[in-house]
Amino acid sequence: MTTSTPNSSWVNFLRQYGPIPSNDNMYDETIQRIVKKKGIEPILIEAPYLAELIENFNSENPKSIILTGTAGDGKTYHSRETWYELGGTFEQWEESGNIKKISIHYGKTLYVIKDLSELAPEERDILILFAQCIKGKRADVLFLIAANDGQLLEALKQVDEDDDAKGILNIIEDMMVTDLPEHPRFDLRLYNLSRISAAWALPRVIEAVTAHDGWRECDHCVFRDHHDVELRCPIWENKKRLEGEQANSVLRTRLIDLLELCEINGVHLPIRQLLLLVSNMILGHPEARDRLLRCQEIPNIIEKRTTAKASIYRNIFGENLPERRRESTAVFETLGRFGIGNETSNKIDNILIFGEDDPELKNNYQELMLSDTYYGADYTYKIHQKEYLEGISEDEGANFLQLVRSQRQRLFFSIPEGRVDEFKLWELTTFHYAGEFLTKVYRTIQQGGRASSQVISRLVKGLNRISTGLLTKTLDKLILATSGSHSQARLSKIFESSISVMRDRGESVQIKADSNGKINIEVSLSSSPSIPAVKLYLHLIRYEFLSRVAEGALPGSFSRECYEDILAFKSRLLKQLERRKVEDGENEYFDDSMSLHILKLNAEGNIDKKTVEVLY
């Protein structure tokens, strides 16, 4: 072993971003101090709204601005950078006091409130000034307020009794809940930094970290790219894998896929969580102090042959952390929902377990496992595999199966794009249809394309099965049926109408993006403008649910929630159908007779209806 123990202050700095007990770098305020003290270049991610903010405050008719967002979205960062750009200094910003004042163009004074939660009670009056300002009663002042939504509303509640401030609470609440960025009547703009998508930010975070100057400290380290693979430093290895060979590494693409799917499901991950993720991906190791590697621990880890436990693919899911810590960290909890590692796939598992000896799997084994001697089929893996197959392992294979689990995680992030279908990559996740949903539906439509008719047919079949309770194969029309009683009833056998999937006299079933870029199933019942289409927001969970129902394999793990969602959608469709009937004058009934249509499945599994007439 080497005599000089490596020690990089950059690695120690990066460690501060990770999931350590006191991760000080979670806060912009603290980073600034360390940066000043240690002379380390900060990790800089561009502030996407900065230019707009500056432009606003420099314009002739500027508006006050509220920056909201989750902790870690960059509220303080945005306001500080704005402060500098408008001529404020570091010293002024660092002075105590939460309310900063600066003169800007056209003789106006800008108040910047750094952190609303720290506003002292006697400072509350500033909010009354703010209210006057956005109501246009004070043309000489402007505001830039950083606050998370809860704090802001809480603070506004305190001044809601004041005559000048009355009503602004409701206005701002409305803007927040309805995602309204600008109010037509008040001089106010709302920037929700939580709209910065993680898929946009992740490549930037990775770039900022991997291209950081601090890595130069590794230049002379013996463990960096050691010619003996077993003596290589996992930190450097992880950093290299994260950078990727080309700009588009599989690892990065897959991770962005996952984050984008989370976002479609409505889970937002702020930049601070992405920094935490990246730090953990590079430095995670279950046996390191605080579970994040320091340079001085590397020799020991290499000696103990546990470098594989620093695998970046495990660290993505926070596998280096104790369970409780992992579950309480937003990014790991979110990524954990994909079940990668726990979900089994016959195809992959066979290769992982039997690939070594099975001639049919040998090539795949070579390609997926032997090609990666560092995190793939390393020494430890091979030993455990052998023991497992020969039935001589002391723990009945438990240890080996843990390694298999890690390998599934690695493969999810390394099977090349062109082989995704062949290896059924997405079966390694809880969502077998996620890949299809993302590439063939979500992104295709975002780019102005259309979902294939196969996809629509499958979703329609799923919808029909749920809304009738019958195991139908009907897929060319959407069946609207009721149970007669309430919609919680499992079976709905009274036919009300059917909607053609193909465009036909105003009827159609399509998948479309709305003005916010959300993807919906849109069912149009009529070409009449007074009967707008009924929409169902199509996120991953619903897509998976409907697809699995259509294919006849629904795992119990899908709770009732999707089912309820679909029933609620059906209620809205029935309501719209009622309107159409009124419009078409079809809603009258006769005193002396009535007819109803009862659904039946025919021998082919398609839905038929039988009309029954009753006379009085």
Binding site: T68, G69, T70, A71, D73, N148, D149, G150, L153, M176, V177, N192, S194, G266, S483, G484, S485, H486, S487, Q488, A489, L491, K493, I494, P532, V534, K535, L536, Y537, R560, E561, E564, D565, A568, F569, S571, R572, L574, K575, Q576, Y589, M594, L596, I598, K610, V612, E613, V614, L615, Y616
Partner: protein, 518 residues
């Protein structure tokens, strides 16, 4: 103590203890659905008598429910229908003939049964079967093992309502097996809520509407004689002990809120039942607490189900257990109170056993005249103990189980993942609560507070302060419990999240909202 209304002149039961505290009566075997059905029967009958939800003098309810034995025989006592259809396949005439003959012989409860009116109403026997099978598929509470005369069709409208009966041959008796008057109590509560008129309008529009499609379908299989309202029978004897309680108004207001939501027609019913169930539980616990002299309102620690065992689960199970004991303790206390009266003391002092018995008789209607001889005791204490034992035994049979059965039936309690029952609300119940509490949208923390104020539900840390301050739980345990609720509401599409701990609960059926987007 609250003023208690005079008890009925004639009392059939063995004693008047449970009834004195809770009314005549809360009954475990009458599930919330059946309570609602009985209530609809009362309401519909009183609508015909033009005095619905009006009580001129307390506890004089006398109403005429319908029996609809043709309808019930066709739907629930008609096992041969399919067999006959197959036996005479392709011969519509023979099918009808055979079936009418069979029903003439096999139906029960009808003096001179004649089902021939049906033939002219349907174009074929098969159509008739389809209608019958469809209607019987909407039996409430689904498939169950109850006798056919205790099965009920979904309340599509007034023509679907009839009372629970015991039918043996042509003999009909009302044994109050499943319509055990809990629905009558509910009716009286609402009549005393001060909101009767408003409620009535909603019922007339939404549920007791003759013209609704499926009500008409149900009427199509009944003979004309069953379709005209009959006032030949009278049901009496309902007793609700208190003239005015905040709980009465609370049920009525929640029901009105539900009706005012833009919920598709019959979908409102499960929510009405859930919320009514909660209020009946609160009513039962609060009455017990009053007897016990506890001035605080009933509370419930709700665990929002977590995959792992938590402190909140323990506390929730404790809270369930404590509430479950209340009614029995109340019965004990109620009876023992008599020994503190001067009357009793002086009877003891004068060593007059007969006088003691008379006191018990006066106060508790016990023992019955016919059973006086069964109780031959040496001391007043023994006599009192005998009453106590009798009363507890009687209480244990039904009322003591009310809390357990009803909380489970409405999805408030469960034993999932645990050996003990606890309060762990199901999704549908949570949705009912949102519809009742949230007019259109409400900040999540306010929602939790509102649930506490209205129903005594303890979910978040702010509401759990008594548990946290006494060291039985830490704040984190309850705030995690609240965030599990937040998560669940969000996945049910009932919550909109803003940043960091700020979220709004949204009522998807808020009347001003357009329902075109979720």
């Amino acid at each position: 103590m609250r003023a208690v209304l005079e008890r009925p002149a004639k009392i059939d039961s063995d004693m008047w203890v449970d009834e004195a505290i809770w009314g005549h009566r809360l009954y475990d075997e009458q599930t919330p659905w059946l309570c609602f059905m009985e209530f609809l029967n009362v309401l519909n009958a009183e609508m015909h008598a033009a005095r619905a939800l009006k009580e001129t003098s307390p506890n004089t309810l006398s109403y005429s429910p319908q029996q609809r034995l043709y309808l019930r025989n066709i739907l629930f006592n008609n096992p041969r229908m399919r067999v006959i259809e197959r036996e005479f396949r392709n011969d519509n005439h023979a099918q009808w003939e055979k079936w009418i003959e069979t029903m003439g012989a096999d139906s029960a409860g009808i003096q001179t049964p004649n089902f021939s009116y049906l033939q002219s109403r349907f174009s074929s026997f098969e159509d008739f079967i389809d209608v019958v099978e469809f209607l019987s598929s909407s039996t409430i509470e689904g498939e169950n093992n109850k006798r056919w005369s205790s099965l009920f069709i979904f309340p599509f409208g007034p023509d679907c309502l009839y009372e629970d009966l015991n039918v043996k041959g042509t003999n009909i008796s009302q044994d109050r097996r499943f319509f055990a008057r809990t629905g009558e109590l509910l009716y009286l509560m609402l009549a005393r809520s001060g909101k009767g008129e408003e409620l009535l309008k909603h019922f007339e529009d939404r549920i007791l509407n003759n013209d609704s499609k499926f009500n008409r379908l149900v009427s199509a299989i009944q003979p004309d004689v069953e379709l005209s309202h009959s006032s030949s029978i009278k049901r009496e004897g309902a007793y609700l002990p208190y003239l005015d309680l905040p709980e009465y108004k609370a049920i009525a207001e929640d029901w009105i809120r539900l009706f005012e939501c833009n919920i598709p027609t019959y979908d409102v019913i499960p929510h009405l039942i859930n919320v009514m169930g909660i209020h009946m539980l609160i009513y039962s616990l609060n009455r017990a607490k009053e007897v016990l002299g506890q001035s605080d309102k009933a509370t419930f620690v709700l665990e929002i189900v977590s995959p792992k065992k938590t402190v909140v689960r323990e506390l929730s199970a404790d809270s369930f257990y404590e509430n479950n004991l209340l009614s029995r303790s109340a019965v004990e206390r109620y009876i023992r109170q008599v020994s503190e009266t001067n009357e009793w003391q002086s009877a003891i002092n004068s060593n007059e056993l007969l006088e003691c018995r008379d006191i018990l008789k006066k106060k508790f209607e016990w023992p019955k005249k016919s059973k006086e001889d069964d109780y031959d005791f040496d001391s007043p204490q023994e006599l009192l103990n005998a009453l106590l034992e009798n009363a507890i035994n009687r209480h244990n049979q039904h009322l003591n189980k009310f809390h357990n059965v009803w909380s489970r039936e409405i999805g408030l309690s469960s034993r999932r993942g645990s050996r003990r029952y606890r309060y762990a609300p199901q999704d549908l119940l949570i949705k009912s609560l949102v519809l009742c509490v949230v007019p259109s949208r409400m900040e999540f923390q306010d929602f939790l507070e509102e649930l506490f104020l209205k129903y005594g539900f303890i979910i978040g840390d702010k509401q759990a302060s008594s548990y946290i301050n006494s060291g039985r739980a830490d704040q984190e345990a309850f705030s995690e419990n609240a965030s599990r609720l937040e998560q669940r509401l969000s996945s049910m599409g009932l919550l909109k999240r803003l940043s960091d701990g700020c979220a709004y609960v949204e009522n998807p059926f808020a009347s001003r909202e357009e329902l075109n987007n979720d």
